[in-house]
Symmetry: C2
DNA sequence: AACGTCGTACCGCTATGCGGTACAGTAATT
DNA sequence: AATTACTGTACCGCATAGCGGTACGACGTT
């Protein structure tokens, strides 16, 4: 009893454990751990080895995991990307944001990104960079921490109290020692956001990186947040108030934009596959 | 018995059905069906309603699905994107391809894409377009059919016989009526690929769209394919042989490129979340 | 040769997920 | 206002599916 593997454990007759655990296995891959053995997965998920073996076996049969031919280890199959595609497609609206983002990126000579929350991180789902920058520092899909970034702060400040409570609870569980500090930071962020309409980060994520953040409602119930920032050499601390206002404007414009019909018809012509 | 819900059904003691079904639920969302009720999902997956209710309940608790506040229907949560991120990140190498793709896109005045197989479709994972084109016809993550595109043909031609058999089997199951024709097409594509090193498509996907395709091994065991194409006004039929050779060259260069160290260090600095 | 780790196999037990069927709400019908 | 078709939820007995211990042969490293 007392299944410690999943957060929700109680006596939920309607909770399919096998599914939860399988997804936990999938989610336990990370950019630094893309090849994993059964043992690795067992350790990462906290599940017994034989259980993991069964789950992996299933995932392999379904094609979401494959065995690397040379190392013999397990790896995520690109097919998992197909799970996310409807999400991307449903966020057509983000395409409307792109030109606006590009404009601000050029103006600020930095990077403008759009991200959503996952756990205690923000996942980037769209990004525009100043055309004079060659390197792409943060690719779409990468994560940045919520507690130290302007994007994360804006998100926290803009979400409803229930989710805020959840987030704080998760932080507490994740790192009790830092919890008090994190809570203070986030509350301060909310204060700033309520007053100015955006959040500021001066070297809180990385030294010498400055940014501002502002939230938007992406589609019906999905909250997201923009940020605009870059190295302190390009994005000076003095420029932040200006950029903050512009970013908040961008968010407001985007939110209220009538976008129906602005986009080309869906180019989806694929065979409907299993 | 005779569980018709999953293709693999036999007496596989190590196959976790709940997981397979749960993933089936997730996968049954599509760009045209982003909001679904229990009934819709039951129909789409072929599972009994009560079962779907349990699976959805689980997925909601895990945060992969959320209930739309106003319609009350179920929707994929952007969080599913996080499952795919390690895959994207593991394909660092595709970033090396980008400049080469851009160059060919500019040269051809068309679009160059990179895609991988999922079922009977190819999913685009990277794309460069000629800088004079404003519209983005096919976004990353979208699908194009395998049987009628140069990318799909190249992929089929380049994969191993076992996968070819699988693919054909899947086609047969999917659309028996067209199977003979499809098989003929794919065999012909393979012949062309073996001879020339690329596949040609003249109006087979869309009227007035021409393209060439060539395959590459992306990472260890993952096969992918490039294509280069566009509207017939820009990509003439006469130019295809030239473009084909160039695309095959691109693929070969990419494959053999020593890319270690060409990329910036991984910018992953997020909090490791649950 | 001794160890560690790989993945696979076995197997008894019971908790677990199954899928009928029934029900209380709401929305769009007539 | 009565009807119909939906939503999602709840209940419940049953059988089995999934669990997780433990044991094993195969590599590869030290």
């Amino acid at each position: 009893m007392s299944d410690s593997s999943t957060p929700e454990a109680g006596k939920d007759r309607a909770f399919v454990n096998g599914l939860a655990r399988g997804l936990k296995v999938l989610a336990s891959f990370s950019p630094d751990q893309i090849r994993m053995s059964l043992g690795d997965l067992a350790q990462a998920t906290g599940l017994p080895k034989s259980t993991v073996a069964r789950l992996v076996h299933t995932l392999v049969k379904l094609g979401y995991i494959y065995v690397c031919r040379e190392t013999g280890r397990y790896s995520l199959h690109p097919r998992v990307l197909s799970l996310g595609y409807p999400v991307m497609a449903s966020m057509d609206k983000r395409l409307v944001a792109l030109p606006m983002m590009q404009e601000l990126a050029d103006y600020s000579r930095g990077t403008v990104s759009l991200g959503i929350r996952d756990g205690l991180s923000m996942i980037l789902i769209e990004r525009s960079r100043d055309r004079t920058v060659r390197a792409l520092p943060l690719d779409v899909g990468s994560r940045i921490p919520m507690e130290s970034t302007s994007m994360g702060h804006a998100y926290f400040a803009a979400t409803n109290p229930e989710e805020q409570t959840d987030i704080l609870k998760e932080f507490k569980a994740h790192d009790p020692a830092r919890f008090a500090e994190v809570e203070r930071t986030l509350r301060a962020a909310q204060k700033e956001y309520d007053e100015k309409g955006f959040c500021t980060s001066v070297g809180t994520w990385e030294d010498d990186v400055n940014a501002v953040g502002a939230a938007v409602e992406l589609s019906n119930d999905v909250l997201a947040a923009f940020n605009c920032g870059g190295p302190a050499t390009r994005i000076t601390e003095e420029s932040l108030p200006d950029l903050g206002v512009r970013l908040a404007d961008l968010a407001r414009h985007f939110q209220t934009a009538d976008w129906v019909g602005q986009l080309p018809p869906r180019p989806y012509r694929g065979v409907q596959t299993t």
